[in-house]
Symmetry: C2
Subunit: 342 residues, 2 copies
């Protein structure tokens, strides 16, 4: 299965990827938490029928994955690839996800809301993500009646999503802001604009590999366009800050920076076992080195963000095939890294 983030182009300076999520619910059903098994089943069928069809090219690119059919490791891998959410993994009632060929668009069914459309795109390209999500939204809207209120907009299980139901986000690589201890300052300042910054796996997750996600908190009282413009403006400022710290380091601490990134590369190439957290930390440094022009791009066979995704437990587990313990995964991870860095 190809993944959207394997794209070699995905080496923009700071923004790793762009993402749009739309929360929708179907009129006449209780919210997902209160659904009976039968009702949940009806919703799954309605959404499947709305999306998967032979009339449109987009409709034929989707397949439905029933959560209850998947083993633990596959679920974990999908979680790490940002296809599904932690909530969906634990659900007992009928639920699942519709994914397209390259995993760039997926539609969660019966997660917190009946429908969550997510579109992801490499690099700084929220417009493309928005277009994809909007197209799916219209497609589903053709055959399904959404729960919509003229005053409040789209109704959602959690009020924080009510209104546009939109969450637009960028995945950012901020190694210099992080190493300069500037993240908490950033978190505070973006919150004043109704924005939030979190670790790579969303709410409550620890930052890994200096990867942070910035997204809008406020969904109500602003149009989709306004939300995305504000997100872009604030993100631009963060990009500028990160880039200027990188430039300063290259100018004033070149040797220290070279030493840091090359040592990281050396360890990634020579380690015999390595934890996921350490691998992420070192990959973050190597990515900084490549983007700063210190390390040659050809040092690795893929874009570093892709490697970052692949060193996670679940993705690695899929590579091993059989169920492996932590020690075995640490060894397999080192082998994989040796293959990637030439």
């Amino acid at each position: 299965m190809t993944k959207w983030y394997e794209d070699k182009v995905l080496d923009s300076n700071v923004v790793l990827s762009s993402r749009v999520r739309l929360a929708r619910n179907i009129k006449g059903f209780p919210f997902a938490k209160r659904l009976t098994a039968d009702q949940a089943k009806s919703i799954v069928d309605e959404v499947k029928n709305a999306v998967i069809n032979d009339r449109t090219p987009i409709g034929s690119s989707f397949q439905y994955i029933n959560m209850q059919d998947l083993d633990r490791n596959t679920k974990l891998a999908m979680l790490e690839n940002h296809i599904i959410s932690p909530e969906l993994v634990q659900k007992q009632t009928p639920c699942g996800v519709l994914v397209n060929d390259d995993n760039s668009i997926n539609i969660l069914v019966n997660e917190e809301d009946h429908i969550r459309i997510q579109a992801m795109c490499p690099g700084y390209n929220i417009e493309k993500a928005w277009e994809d999500a909007d197209r799916i939204d219209s497609l589903i809207g053709e055959s399904v009646k959404y729960a919509f209120d003229d005053e409040f907009g789209f109704l959602t299980a959690c009020v924080t999503n009510t209104g546009t139901g939109l969450r637009a986000s960028f995945m950012l690589h901020l190694p210099m802001l992080e190493s300069n201890g500037r993240i908490s300052e950033l978190v505070n300042s973006v919150s004043k604009f109704g924005m939030t910054i979190r670790g790579i796996y969303g709410e409550g997750s620890k930052p890994l590999g200096a990867i942070y996600q910035i997204s809008n908190q406020v969904t109500l009282g602003k149009s989709e366009k306004e939300i995305m413009e504000l997100l872009k403006n604030i993100t631009s400022q963060i990009i500028d800050k990160e880039n200027s710290l990188r430039e300063m380091a290259i100018k004033n601490q070149r040797i220290e920076l070279e030493d840091t990134v090359y040592r990281a590369l050396g360890t990634l190439k020579y380690c015999v076992k390595i934890s996921s957290a350490e691998a992420m930390e070192l990959l973050s440094k190597v990515r900084l080195g490549i983007i700063s022009g210190i390390i040659n791009t050809n040092c690795c066979k893929s874009n570093v963000f892709n490697i970052m995704m692949n060193v996670q437990g679940g993705n690695l587990q899929s590579r091993i095939g059989h169920s492996a313990n932590e020690g075995e995964r640490d060894i397999e991870r080192a082998k994989y890294l040796k293959e990637m860095f030439v």
Copy 2:
């Protein structure tokens, strides 16, 4: 100038080198501390004339280096190569050292004693070092009258050397005993046999790169042969302990050991700057890896002990040529290591 420790053969498991030192004084002069400049000059001349001659091959292989003629960096390099002692560097009265072609034999003049003959040899070969030192002792004895007492033996400035004036020692690489926290136990147990264990640069020096020197403390009441036999016996036991810990690690913790030594190799190859202490620590691990058969010997262009000597400040300084600060030396050290590890 070739150095005796550059010999490729010097990769014995545990013993890096063997060394014999004989302390001698000339009859009719006060001990070195109380010498007038004229007396000191006379001693220098007597020893030079005794050693440097065209009659014997050994005599023609020596040259005399006057301490006062050397700059600070050359002195430091000679110190690190174990040719001269810290005491000699600071002396104001005429003093110097006679060294042979490959630096394996040197004769300190007017250090703590009038004459100190030192002979060094790669690996476990105290007999060869003894033969060399003994030959020089006889050579000097032919034309110089030693201060000798029938009851006490050779008289020396410090009573701890009186008797044979012999200090025999082995330089040992003990990475596993060190990482298992067994050094202090070792120090205690060898002291019961009149032996002492110290860091690489002798008395009071911190251990670097898991290199330790074992030598006899007692010089009186035992013959030269007895002293060397005892040293060999005790060293054999240390070698066995170190080797059995290495074998256990290879058997029971192979992956951990591989990971440790390969990470060290990766850092040595990829670092852009590195301190002397860190380089020594990593080189120690790589040496363990090579000797354990984990890393291929061809990974480096020289024996690791030679590299260990060359990453020290003074030796590195000679490589740079001009006077460099610590930061420059750390960068030059990394460059040198990159050349050594292929």
